[in-house]
Structure formats: C-alpha cells, structure tokens
C-alpha cells in the first residue's frame, strides 16, 4: 500500500497539535475553576468575618447603651438601645445566612434565644428595676445566667476572627501554589513539543536522505556498468516508487545492452562461418584436384556418351589397356569385349545405368595387346533434367593381379579345408583314444572310428597278446576261426611291412548277385609299438573296388597314432592293476599304514589305519591337513603330546632309518598299545617326498611282555629263595665243623629246597611244553577213584589239615593221562592246603553227574576275591592279596591244570567265598555206562545216605573195600590218619567205621577205637576192625568192637556185615559184633 511521506508528516504534526491544544485548554479550564473557587471561599470568609464583627460591635453598642441607660436613665439612651437591639437583630439574621457549620448554627440559636430573652425579659425587668431604682435587683439580674451566653458569644467572635485570618492565609498560599504548578506544567509542555519536533525532523531526514544516497550509489554502479540490485523495493512510499522506477530503468538499459551484444556475436559468427565455407570450398577444390590426380594415378577414367562412345580416356587407361587415345575416342565400348559371352554382362550394366543408377562391379576387358584385364568398375550416369542419362563416366581399377591371387587362394583354401577335415578326424580319434581307459573300450573306439572313415565290407581289429577284438560284417563262426588261428606268421610280416594287400577272387557269398567275377581285396595292417613289435592287427576286406593308395597311407598314419595310444592304454592298465594290487596289499596288511607329504598333509591311509584311528570317512577320501588328522588321531591317545611331537619330528626331519614310538589308545573302552614307526620316503633323486608311518597294534605282545616280565620277576624270586637255602646251607656244611644233628638238619633242608626247585623247574618245563604244543598225552582208560586215592596217598603225612576222600561215585572210568591228571589233583589239593593257612578239613569228593565225573576239592581257606575268579586259570596269574604273599607259588599251577583238563575235554571251575573257602571242581566225561536219566534214578534209589568211613593206609585194600561198599550203595569216606579220622567222625554221621589196626606212628587203631568208645557221642558207633593181625579177643571185648575181619578176607564179607548194621541200626546200636568164622 502506498504511503506518502507528506501525509505521514502532516498527520503526525496535526495529531501533536490537537493533543497539545486539548491538554492545554483542559488544564487551563481546570486551573481557572480552582482559582475561582478559592476566590469565592476567600470572599465568603471575609464577609462572614465582617458580619461577625458587625454583630459584635452592634452587641457592644447595645450593651453600652444599655449600661448608659442604667446609669443615667436617659431616655435617649433608651432609644438608642432599642435601635441597637434592632441592629443586632439584623446582623444576627445576616449571620444566620452565612452560618454553615454546626457550631455557628448552635451559636446562632443561642443568640436568638438570648436576644429574645434579653429583649422580652431581661431588658423590661432591668428597666423596671432601674425605674424603680432597684439597683440591687439589677445586679442580681446581671449575674444570673445572661452573661454566660454573652461570654460564649465573645469567645466565638474572638476565635472566629483568628480562624478567618488563618483561613485567608491558607487560601492565599494555595493560590500561589496553583500558580506555580501551572508555570511548571507549561514549561514541561513546551519541552515535550520541542522534543517531538526534533524526532519528526530526525525521521524526515532519515527517510529522505538515506534512500537518496542509496540511489546515488546505484546510479553510479549503473553508470559503471555493474548490476543494480533491487534492494529498496520493500518501501511503499515515494522513495520506494522512485527506486522501483530507477530499477526498471536500469534493467531496461541492461537488457537492451545484452540484446545488442548477442546480435553482435551472431553477426560475428555468421562472418566466421562464411569464411570457413570459403576455406572449405578451397579445400574441396584442392581435394578434388588431388583426387583427380590420384585417380589418374591408379584408376582408368573414361567418359562415354549416351551411345556408348568413348569421349574421354585418361593416361592410366592408355597405360593399362594398351589402346592409344586416338584408337579409343570415337569408338564404342564394345571394342573391349573379350568374348561374345560377355555381351549379356554388358547388357546388364547398360540396363542399370540407363535407369539412372550407378553400377558397381568387376568385369574383364580385352587390351590393345590382345590380353585380358580385370577391372573393378564404377559407372556413374549423368542425368539431364528429364531424368535421362546423356553421358556416363566410368572409373576402373586394375584388379587383374589380385584376381589371379584370389583364384590361387581359392584353390589352396579348398586344399586346406580337406586337410582340416582330416586333422579333425584325427583329432576326434585322438580325443576318443585319450579318453578311453581299458583295452576293451579302446579297441571298440578305434574300430568304430576306422569303419566310419573307410567303407570296408568286413573288418576285424584284435589285440595280439590278449583276447580282445571287435569285428564287423562277419559271422561269429568266421570271427572265432580267424581269432583262434595262429597269426605269428602274419604278425612277423607286419613287423617289417606297413600293410599287406591281397587280391583274390570273391567267395560265393561275396559274389552275391553279380554275374561277372568280382575281385576282392584283403588288407592287413598292424599297430606297432616303439620297439616295432605288433600289438594289434587290423584285417579288412573290400569287395569289387580296391582301396586307393592314399587311403592306405592314411590308414598307416592312423595306425601310428593308435599305437601310441594303445601303448598308453596298456601301460595304464598295467599300472592300474598294480596300483590296485598295491592298495589291496596295503589294505590287507595287519598294520596301519599312513603316508603323509613332506608338509605333513596326509595323502594315503589304509583300512587298518582307518580302523585304528576310529576311521573317519574324510580321512580316507582326500588329503587331510596335518593339524586336522593329527587332532583326529591323537584324540583318544593317552600320551597325546608325546605322540604329536613324534609325528612332528618324523615329518620335519630326514630319517634313512626309522623312528619308533609307542602310544596308548583308548578305543571302545579298551586300552590298546600301538607301536608306530616313521620313516622318510625318498624318490629316485634322493629327494624326500614324505613320511610313512606304520602303526602296529601290539596290545597282545605288550600284555604278554608284561606278563612275562612279571613272571621273570616271580620266577626269579621263587628260584632264588630255595637257591639261597641250598647254597647257604651247603656253604655252612662245607666251611664249618658242625654237629651231626645239625649236618643232618641242613642236609634235610637242602634236600627239601632242592626238591622245591625241581618242582618249580618242572612246572616251567610243563608250561613251556604246553605252550609250544609239545605235550604228549598218554590217554588210557583209568579209574578216577584210584587216581584220587593215589594222589591223596601222597598227602598222608600232612598233619596240619584233615584230608578226607568222600567217594559218592558209582561209575569211575574215564579216559585220561593218569600222570597228568594226578598232577592236576596234586596241584589242587596242595593249593587247598596252602591257601588254608589256619588248617581245617579238606575234602576231596568224587561224584557222578550226568555223564560226567566230577571231582571237588573243598577247603576252608582264604577264598578268592570275586574279581579275581575270571583270571584265576590264566597263565602267570597270582592273586594279589596280602594273605597270600607268604604263600609261595609260580602262578602256573592252575594254568597248567586248566590246560590239562581242556585236553581231556573236561572243565575246571571254582566256587568261592572270600574268607570262607573255595571249592575247585574238575569234570571229566564218563567213559563207562552212559548215565541217562534212568540209571541216575536207579542209582539214586539204591544210594542210601549211609556213610561208611574206612581208615586204612593201604590204598589198594581201601580201594577194594570201597568198590565193594559202593556197589552195595554205601557212601565211602577214606582216612589214613587216625587222628584226622577221629576229628572227622565226630562231625559226621556214619553207619559204621572200618579201622585198620596198623596205622601211623602216633596213634594206632586200638587207640582210635578206645577214643571213640570213651566219647559219649561216638560210643555207640559200630566199629569193624579190618586187620592183618590176629584177632585179640581181649581187646575186642574191651572195646565192644562190632566186627573183626582178618585180612585177607573177601570184600563182600564186609559189605554183608555192614548191611546187617544198617538193618539193625536202631536196636543194636553200640553192640559189638563178633566175627563169624
């Protein structure tokens, strides 16, 4: 919106003026009214003061007149008094007019009351009194009450005077103050007006002068040709308008200027272009001239008119065609025709160029010297305004030479094409051959290839040394015939000749439908290896037509190629076979084999290695990096780091020999000891190509080794101890003079110890024999009870334990090596004694059990820990038990026993409870009487629990009696030693006891009988004496012996007697039976 500066300033000035006028006028009015008010108040006060003064003076006059009257009784005075009274009353009414305060009103009322009383009461009373000359009454009257009001009035007038004066002073002061204030305000207003004036001027200057300066600058800038910036246009006043106009003007000027400039430039450009055109034209002309020169140099240029007549020929034309200018110009082109055949060719050209288009092409022309030239031609028609050609220009390039070259090239190209095809075929063959592995495939490929190339009617390709062949066009019979013929002669010929050709007459089959005799050609060619030996033979037949010599040569070439490939195939087959063989060998070796490269990456591994290392498939498939296989291998190894170090060492260092290492592998919860050796592998040039590791599972060997070293230790101990005694005592005997008893004692000891040594050595020898399988067993039928009895006989002198033999068997025949069996039983019994260090009863029991003979040896000894039972019968095993340490032994006894019993098809086992004792059992197959259920039944039926004890040191007699008693169903217990027998009798329930009188040194039969009879538990036990001594009746009587049999007596006598006992057991207990004789 446009805002004029003028109107702006006018409006400001008017506004200021109006405000000043209003304020000044208002203030003036206000001041005037205030002053008026003051003036009025002052006059009022003054007036009142006058009235009060008048009132007072009238009162005083009145009183003065009254007194004058009183004193003088003058009537004048009395009139005067009455006037004055009237005055007073007038003044009083005036006072009433101005009395505006309450006090004044009260006073007024009092004065009215007073004057009325004075006038109506006092004055008449006083007059009366005066008149009566009653002055005393007058005095009383004067002192009574009236004076109070008078005094009050006088006080008031005095106070009113003071007050009026005071008020007048105040009014005056106020008037002066108001005047001063007015003066001050007027001054301030003037100052404000001046300030406003200054502000207006300041703004006026600012709004007018600065934009003018800016405009001046802009104008200067415009003059200097600079851009004028449009920065004042925000103003809406005259300056803004001026600026706007100025800006528009500047812009207009600039635009015009630019337009002029561009027009100028355009003109310049047009001028440049023109001069360029001119230059170009000049160049063109030069170019054209040059081109013409160049064309004259290389091309034949002629112009021909519409009738085909030469009008111009250039130098080159003359030079090339050997026609002179004068010979050509004026003649038609037809003079240059080589033959009539070319007429059509020219007709074609003519047709094209007559229609107005350019012709391009090659053509041949005759020359002046009678030759022929080839020209690359362009014929351009010149057309008149009707489109008809009126002249032609022909430009030709001599291409005779290149044409000839081209023909030659074509020829050689076709030659190359042929060679290429051939080579391709060769290539195909080579490719096919190189892909083939295996003789069969190879022969097949080559054969089909050859047949593809040549049209043989029949053909066979076969290997000389192997029954591999392919055939075509032949019956199987013919093929077989051909293959199986001896070809050595043919082969021999083919060694020296590349191929053989045989021409022959056709056979009937080959003749076919042909009427004329047909000739047939047979070809033979061989595949020779580098040494000239024939590896394969190709036989082929063509019927009617021979194969051309070239083809035959080519065939030879093919054969050479085939020979190389065939050799390769054969070698490959051979290598493959031996590789397979090697792998098979490696895989079947019982050792883990592992081959690693020189950097330690695993290259090959055999099956066994796979198994050892827990065979992970990836190990088998491809080369595994060193740290990978090493981690996999040593994962379950106990001495892992050591093993890894060993691998590292072998891989990094050269070893002509081998490095050894053992490691322990945990596999399926078992501990395996593996021995591994690593050795460097070198190639022919002594370069190291890797390392081979051979892992061998030596767990068994290791165990054996350990067992053996344990054995050696044991044996050493076992041998050295008796040896110490032998040597020691011998030395004592030799070096010292000893008493005979001591000598005897030493010799005894030496003997015993030497025997112990012998036993030991025998055990070792036995074991050695058995291990090597050299032990011979002398098998014979023998009675087991006899054997047991014999063995037990050897333990007769054992006093520490009570040995007894309980025979519960019925059948006793077995097939056995008696000596070995005795060895086993001896061992078992001596073990029973040895391992029962606290003594006790050792029972050997013989029983029949289902086709088996079972011998049980029961001891009350140490027993065997459960975990040791399994290993008990293995070689070199001794139970590690504190109690047993003092018990010597080789640890071989039970192993030997087992070996022997195994050889007897028997078995040996043990039942044991630690601390309570053991029962070792041996079972052997029974020989006599297959013991089926029935016999078992019957035997058990007749087998009564009646037990008879035989105390007899004569084994054979004991056996004889035992046989007899067993046959009668008795269970027989054998004892040798009467003391042991006694101990046993006390514990056992018996039917009877059979006693020999001549027993051991310590106690004879009679002593035993005496003991039995004295013991209340056994005194009723029937006793039978079996003795060689004559019967002593006295003693028989004394001890109530039941029966006395004098040896020799038939065994059945004993059994009869005993059977009697059984029958009369109850009633005849304790009775002595006398012998019947």
């Amino acid at each position: 919106m446009f805002k004029s500066i003028r109107s702006k300033f006018i409006s400001i000035a008017v506004l200021s003026l109006v405000i000043l006028t209003f304020v000044g006028t208002g203030y003036y009015i206000h001041l005037t009214s205030v002053l008026d008010e003051l003036e009025q108040e002052r006059s009022e006060v003054y007036e009142k003061a006058l009235i009060v003064e008048d009132l007072e003076s009238s009162y005083n006059d009145m009183l003065f007149r009254a007194r004058g009257y009183y004193a003088f009784l003058d009537e004048n005075e009395k009139n005067q008094l009455e006037n004055r009274l009237e005055d007073f009353k007038n003044h009083l009414s005036e006072f009433e007019q101005v009395a505006d305060s309450e006090q004044e009103t009260l006073l007024y009322n009092d004065l009215v009351v007073f004057i009325e009383r004075y006038e109506n009461e006092l004055l008449p009373a006083a007059i009366t009194l005066v008149e009566n000359e009653n002055y005393l009454g007058l005095r009383d009257l004067a002192s009574g009450g009236a004076n109070e009001t008078i005094n009050q009035f006088l006080d008031f007038t005095r106070a009113n005077e003071v007050q009026s004066n005071q008020r007048l002073d105040d009014i005056y002061t106020e008037s002066v103050d108001t005047a001063n204030l007015f003066t001050l305000i007027t001054l301030l207003a003037s100052a404000g007006a001046i300030i406003i004036l200054f502000v207006i001027i300041f703004y006026l200057l600012r709004d007018l002068l600065r934009p003018i300066d800016d405009l001046k600058l802009a104008a200067n800038s415009l003059a200097a040709g600079k851009e004028v910036y449009h920065d004042l246009d925000e103003r809406k006043d005259e300056i803004g308008a001026l600026n706007q106009s100025f800006y528009h003007m500047a812009q207009a000027i600039q635009e015009k200027e630019e337009e002029l400039m561009s027009q100028n430039e355009e003109l310049q450009a047009q001028q440049d272009e023109l001069s360029d055109h001119q230059d170009q034209m000049r160049y063109y002309i030069t170019d054209i001239e040059n081109m013409k020169r160049a064309m004259d140099q290389f091309s034949l240029v002629t112009t021909i008119d519409e009738n085909g007549v030469f009008t111009y020929v250039n130098e080159k034309f003359v030079e090339t065609t050997d026609y002179k200018q004068e010979e050509t110009i004026g003649k038609t082109y037809k003079m240059m025709l080589v033959s009539e055949n070319d007429r059509d060719f020219f007709k074609n050209i003519k047709q094209q160029i007559q229609s107005g288009s350019i012709w391009n092409g090659e053509g041949r022309f005759s020359t002046g010297s009678g030759g022929v030239i080839w020209l690359q031609m362009t014929v351009v028609p010149y057309v008149n305004k009707y489109g008809r050609p009126y002249q032609y220009i022909a430009i030709g390039l001599d291409i005779t030479e290149s044409k000839q070259m081209q023909n030659k090239l074509k020829e050689s190209l076709s030659q190359t094409e042929k060679t290429k095809t051939k080579l391709e075929r060769y290539n195909q063959l080579n490719h096919a051959m190189s892909l083939d592995v295996g003789k069969e495939n190879f022969v097949s490929t080559v054969f089909s290839y050859i047949n593809k190339l040549y049209n043989f009617d029949k053909s066979v390709l076969m290997l000389v040394d192997e029954p591999v062949y392919r055939a075509m066009g032949l019956t199987q019979k013919t093929i077989d015939q051909f293959i199986n013929t001896d070809h050595s002669e043919l082969v021999e010929r083919l060694k020296s000749e590349k191929h053989l050709t045989v021409k022959r007459k056709a056979t009937q089959a080959e003749q076919g439908l042909a009427e004329e005799a047909i000739e047939v050609y047979d070809y033979y060619t061989g595949v020779r290896n580098a040494n000239g030996e024939v590896m394969a033979v190709l036989a082929a037949t063509t019927v009617g037509m021979p194969v051309c010599e070239n083809d035959l040569l080519e065939l030879d070439g093919i054969m050479n190629r085939v020979s190389i490939a065939l050799e390769r195939v054969l070698i490959y087959d051979e290598i493959e076979e031996s590789r397979k063989l090697n792998q098979d060998i490696i895989n079947n070796v019982n050792e883990g084999i592992q081959f690693v490269s020189e950097t330690g990456d695993m290259i090959q591994i055999n099956e066994m290695m796979c198994e050892l290392s827990g065979c992970q498939e990836w190990l088998k498939k491809k080369p595994a990096a060193k740290n990978k296989w090493m981690i996999a291998f040593t994962k379950a190894v106990e001495n892992r780091e050591e093993t890894a170090t060993f691998f590292d060492k072998c891989i990094t260092e050269n070893y002509r020999g081998a490095l050894n290492h053992q490691y322990i592998l945990y596999k399926n919860g078992q501990e395996k000891v593996i021995d591994v050796y690593g050795t460097s592998v070198f190639n022919d040039d002594s370069e190291r190509v890797g390392t081979i590791f051979v892992h061998r599972d030596i767990t068994r060997e290791h165990e054996l080794d350990q067992m053996k070293s344990e054995l050696v230790s044991t044996v050493s101990h076992e041998l050295r101890t008796p040896l110490s005694s032998v040597l020691g005592f011998t030395e004592l005997l030799l070096k010292k003079d000893l008493k005979p008893e001591r000598q005897r004692k030493y010799l005894d000891t030496i003997y015993k110890e030497a025997k112990r040594l012998t036993n030991l050595i025998n055990n070792f020898l036995d074991l050695q024999r058995m291990e090597s399988g050299n032990q011979k067993y002398d098998m014979a039928v023998c009675s087991l009870d006899t054997i047991v009895m014999d063995v037990m006989n050897n333990f007769k002198h054992v006093n520490s334990h009570q040995l007894s033999f309980v025979d519960e068997s019925k059948y006793v025949k077995v097939k056995a090596d008696q000596e070995r069996l005795e060895q086993v039983l001896t061992n078992l019994i001596s073990n029973a004694i040895k391992f029962s260090p606290d003594g006790g009863s050792i029972k050997v029991r013989l029983q029949n059990e289902e086709n088996q003979m079972v011998i049980r040896i029961e001891d009350p000894g140490l027993g065997i820990p459960k975990d040791a039972v399994d290993k008990l019968f293995s070689k070199f095993h001794r139970i590690d038990q504190t109690d047993r340490k003092k018990i010597g032994g080789t640890g071989l006894g039970l192993a030997i026993a087992k070996e022997i019993i195994d050889q007897h098809d028997g078995s040996i086992w043990v039942e044991s409870e630690e601390g309570k004792g053991s029962i070792f059992s041996v079972s052997l197959p029974l020989l006599d009487g297959m013991m089926n259920e029935e016999t078992m039944q019957s035997s058990s039926a007749t087998f009564s629990p009646s037990s008879v004890m035989i105390i007899e040191d004569d084994t054979s007699l004991a056996l004889l009696l035992s046989e007899e008693l067993k046959a009668n169903g008795f269970r027989v217990i054998h004892h040798y030693d009467p003391q042991n027998a006694y101990d046993d009798i006390v514990r056992t329930e018996l039917t009877a006891v059979v006693v020999d009188l001549m027993l051991g040194e310590e106690m004879d039969g009679w002593e035993l009988i005496e003991k039995l009879k004295l013991d209340p538990k056994t005194k009723d036990l029937p006793i039978v004496i079996s003795s060689a001594l004559d019967r002593s009746d006295e003693k028989v009587q004394q001890f109530q012996v039941n029966e006395y049999l004098t040896k020799p007596y038939p065994p059945n006598e004993l059994s009869k007697t005993l059977l009697q006992f059984v029958q009369s057991q109850e009633k005849q207990a304790g009775e002595v039976l006398f012998p019947r004789e």
């Binding site: 020691g728 010292k736 001591r742 003092k886």
Partner: protein, 123 residues
C-alpha cells in the same frame, strides 16, 4: 649292644641266617613278616636289621619307610632281595637302607657285611 633282627617270611632262610650269625656270636631275634619286624624294631634296641624285600603284611621297603628317624639312625638296615635288579637296589637305598644283599648269597659274605656294619657303627 649287638642285637640283630632277622625278618624273613621264609623260615628256612631265616634259619640259615640265624644259624650263621649265631655262630659268629651275635644275639638274634626273628620276625616272620613286615609288620612284626616294624613293631620289633621300634620297640627293641637293635644295632642291625636284616629285612627281606618280599614279606607279607609289609615289604622290606615299607618297613624301612615307616621306621621312625630315631630308629633309622641307631639301626643299620640290610635289605635282602631275590630280585637282583639294579632298580631294586636303588629303590632300597633310596628308601633308607644302608646295605643291600641279593639272594642267593653266601653266608660268609653276610657275616663280612654284618661285621663291617658293626665296626662302622663303633667308629
């Protein structure tokens, strides 16, 4: 003080040693196993003890190892072993034995050794 303790579970061998040394005038006590030997050595006052290596209850080495220092200093210890391997001797010596004798031994050698032990002890 010239008492000797002979500890061996083999009675015969014990007899050999006892007879040999008694002839030389030594006063000898016998023990049948390792535990007994240890007990006797600690309670008695022996100048020399001949201990078999392989004994029940406690081996000779165990006996030596379990002896109090007091007993060790006052008693010379002879280890008798049937395993004549170098490492056995080493083991015996390391355990604290003073002498070592392998079985089989010559009684006169034993006498020599015992005599030597006694003269050394007197020095």
């Amino acid at each position: 003080m010239s008492k000797i303790l002979v500890a061996d579970d083999e009675e015969i061998l014990r007899m050999l040693i006892v007879d040999t040394l008694e002839d030389e005038g030594y006063d000898i006590d016998e023990a049948g196993d390792g535990a007994e030997a240890l007990d006797m050595l600690e309670k008695g006052d022996y100048h020399l003890a001949i201990l078999d290596y392989m004994m029940p209850e406690k081996t000779g080495i165990e006996v030596v190892k379990n002896l109090s220092n007091e007993t060790k200093t006052k008693t010379k210890l002879v280890m008798l072993t049937a395993k004549a391997q170098v490492k056995d001797k080493q083991e015996a010596m390391e355990a604290g034995a003073d002498y070592y004798m392998a079985k089989p031994f010559s009684p006169s050698d034993l006498v020599d050794m015992v005599n030597q032990a006694f003269t050394e002890g007197l020095k």
